[in-house]
Amino acid sequence: MENLDIISILGSTIRLSIPLIFTALAGLFTERAGVFDIGLEGKMLFSAFAAAVAAFMTGSPWIGLLAGIAVSVLISLIHGFASITNRGNQIVSGVAINFLASGLTAVLGQAWFSQGGRTPPLSPSARFTEIVFPYANQLRDTGFIGRFYANVISGHNILTYIAFLAVPASWWILYRTRFGLRLRAVGENPGAVDTAGISVTWLRYRATICAGILCGCSGTYLAIAQSAGFVKDMSAGKGFIALAALIFAKWRPVPVMLACLLFGFLDAFANFMQGKNVPGIGEVPVQIFQALPYVLTCVLLAGFIGVARPPKAGGVPYVKER
């Protein structure tokens, strides 16, 4: 079919955006607290692996999710220990986590399952599968709205809906709770938090734990919702795209969601255009479309979004001045 199937593109936009939304929200929590988190990618990968392994062993996607979250939180705590407690360089710590994730998951996967770093394919009962909303199947053939309902609104797994709930929830936590107020403060001026008698260290640890939970959802989604098992390096740079979306959205929850949807859309569009003729040009190499999200990232970050002011204390370990 040569015509633009907007419904199917939108449906896959949603599917491709979910890991970005989880991951970018994870970055939102740590970076608003003043801890740069370049290791989002690695955390996704670790949790994808853990979720796949746990789901395979137990046959339960929920235990897979718990395992994914637990491992991701653990990695977050390591990042926190290096960069908060020991005041190490946050970028270096994050890069180390990414390398570790890429290597260790493949090695463990090979050692345990001998399938070239993959985990064994999961049965549908060990995965998060699509939820079909009431009347979705009946409405499938009833015009645009019906198709939109059936393919874009309905028909996704539970994590998808959790991701969209996580957006207003993050907003509410950041702007309407004591924890959120303090978290935003510690990313701007940790001195103000310290002199108010609040522990900067504990606050930043809690922010990284939040990020761990969200990254855990993201990795789990990749391994046992979108796919049926772990594949080496399956995060494929999504952690970095999420980081770009975070900057693009100027560290605010709702724009983060919109940015992730935009990147997801470009990705979906690239998939859709695979092997199709562009009117007047003919077949365009799919790599051109696949490069679009990255080109867009560069263009947007290079100035189209105005000044993206990061949290002022970001990247700087807190030391009481003498």
Partner: protein, 507 residues
């Protein structure tokens, strides 16, 4: 003083001792502060004032000694404990979250519950009350970074009062304020005292101490050397106690002997990085053998003028001449080669690389000179010998040219910059805020060196926001307001006249 002799003192510090590694910051400090008084603590930079107050506020733990608040022994192991003991602190560098509203800053740490709703509305009515009681007006919904510095400081005071502070510590509160803002602050402090609050004012400005305090304690090198009733002491006595020797508060100098014009500025217009015109059609000359002072409230174009003259910022129009030859738009290196020395306004930002060793900063900017090396290579021995000679001549302490520059006190860092620029023997010395954050002893020294440059027949262009400094050093004073030179005066012009010109009211 409104304290009665029977009331327990608000604060008693007994034998407070604190070491940072080899540095003995506080040596067995005893201090008593009467309730309902304004108590000044004065001392040079690095005398240990801020450390002592940080201990009282729970920011650091003392190694020894005890603290009594209102006659009760109190252990202050963190800031939370200090706050619940009724102590509030206004830090030198404000502890405010700049992109938060006033209200959010006020409730940070005292939110009254996990959700913000109730805390915010409580704080809003509390701020109204504080405004009525103490005349502390500020819009609770304003964003901090959009407020002028004076109002930001008011938010810090409100923060402390909202937390129920009975004792208020202010660390160098006027360093960032205009004279008018400082006067306003002093009026507020007076009201707070009259309402029974106890105030500790840390400063190194003698005039403030005399103007507002009831009692003053002097610290020197980690020790509390004296406590006086303010009414029974003099500026001269306090200066001597601070420095440990007699200090000349006025610069001694003979009449100037101006000769040829060294620097000519003709119709110069300079814009800042936002594109706002900061210097507007300014013209003046500086002759050899004179000090020309530029007075003005910070932000009226002085910084941009200095940057244009020293080649850091390109002017939009107009001309700059050195010895009659046009040098407009030359970069800093070329101007330095032509004999312009520059002591920048902000030594941390432009004058020094704090992470470098002293000797590296001591040659920075002149490192291409033949005496410091050949071709691409530095002659480290030559650099270090040169640095040692400057350390000796300028009495830079500690006398160690391998020490990291960040580890020198403000006054000594400034001396490193002054030594570097003066020893290069420029024909024009451009000086910005030469004694900002510098202690009295070093101020005296730097002032003497600047006058010595003048007497050696050099041209000196001085920019300072300290009117005293301008008046005591300059032979001619230009006043800048809103990018214009609004007038030229002689140094014996009264402070009031200059103040009105600086405010743009009189010409």
């Amino acid at each position: 003083m409104s304290s009665s002799p029977t009331a327990a003192p608000a604060i008693e510090l007994i034998g407070i001792d604190k070491k940072f590694g080899a540095v003995h910051a506080n040596k067995n400090i005893n201090l008593t502060v009467a309730k309902g008084s304004i108590h000044g603590i004065i001392g040079e930079n690095g005398a240990g004032k801020s450390t002592l107050m940080s201990i009282l506020y729970g920011f650091y733990q003392a190694d020894g000694g005890s603290i009594r608040i209102n006659g009760k022994d109190t252990v202050i192991h963190d800031s939370q404990a200090a706050i619940s003991a009724g102590i509030g602190m206004v830090h030198q560098h404000f502890m405010l979250v700049e992109n938060f509203s006033v209200l959010e800053n006020v409730i940070l740490g005292v939110e009254r519950g996990a959700l913000l709703g109730r805390g915010v509305s409580d704080a809003r009515s509390a701020l109204k009350r504080l405004e009525a009681d103490y005349g502390l007006e500020v819009d609770p919904d304003a964003i901090i970074e959009e407020l002028p510095v004076g109002l930001q400081q008011r938010v810090e005071i409100l923060k402390a009062l909202y937390r129920g502070a009975e004792i208020l510590i202010l660390d160098e509160p006027t360093g960032v304020l205009t004279p008018a803002e400082a006067d306003h602050l002093f009026r507020i402090l007076g009201v707070l005292r009259d309402q029974g609050k106890t105030i500790i004012l840390i400063t190194h400005k003698l005039r403030e101490i005399m103007a507002i305090t009831d009692t003053v304690s002097v610290m020197r090198r980690g020790e509390m050397v004296a406590t006086r009733k303010t009414s029974e002491t003099t500026v001269e006595e306090l200066a001597e106690l601070m420095v440990g020797r007699r200090v000349l508060l006025r610069v001694e100098k003979g009449p100037a002997a101006p000769s040829d014009v060294v620097l000519s500025v003709r119709n110069l217009t300079v814009k800042d990085s936002r594109g706002v015109t900061m210097v507007d059609n300014v013209s003046f000359d500086v002759r050899a053998g004179e000090v020309v002072g530029i007075a003005g409230v910070a932000g009226n174009g002085q910084s941009e003028l200095l940057e244009a003259i020293t080649g850091i910022r390109k002017p939009v129009s107009g001309e700059i001449l050195m010895h009659g030859k046009p040098v407009t738009g030359f970069d800093a290196a070329r101007l330095r080669a032509l004999g312009i020395g520059h002591i920048p306004e902000d030594r941390h930002h432009m004058g020094l690389v704090l992470g470098f060793e002293e000797n590296e900063n001591s040659v920075l900017g002149y490192h291409r000179d033949d005496r410091y090396g050949k071709g691409p290579f530095l002659n480290l021995d030559a650099c270090r010998d040169d640095a040692k000679a400057k350390i000796e001549k300028y009495d830079i302490r500690p006398p160690n040219c391998r020490l990291k520059t960040a580890n020198f006190s403000g006054g000594n860092q400034q001396k490193i910059v002054v030594a570097r620029e003066i020893e290069r023997d420029p024909s024009l010395l451009v000086v910005g805020q030469p004694t900002r954050g510098v202690d009295i002893g070093a101020i005296e020294f730097i002032h003497r060196r600047l006058i010595a440059m003048r007497d050696a027949g050099k041209a000196v262009l001085l920019v300072s926001v300290e009117l005293d400094e301008i008046r005591s050093l300059s032979d001619r004073i230009l006043v800048m307001f809103a990018g214009h030179v609004v007038g030229e005066k002689t140094p014996d012009t009264g402070e009031q006249t200059l103040g009105l010109m600086m405010a743009g009211i009189a010409a």
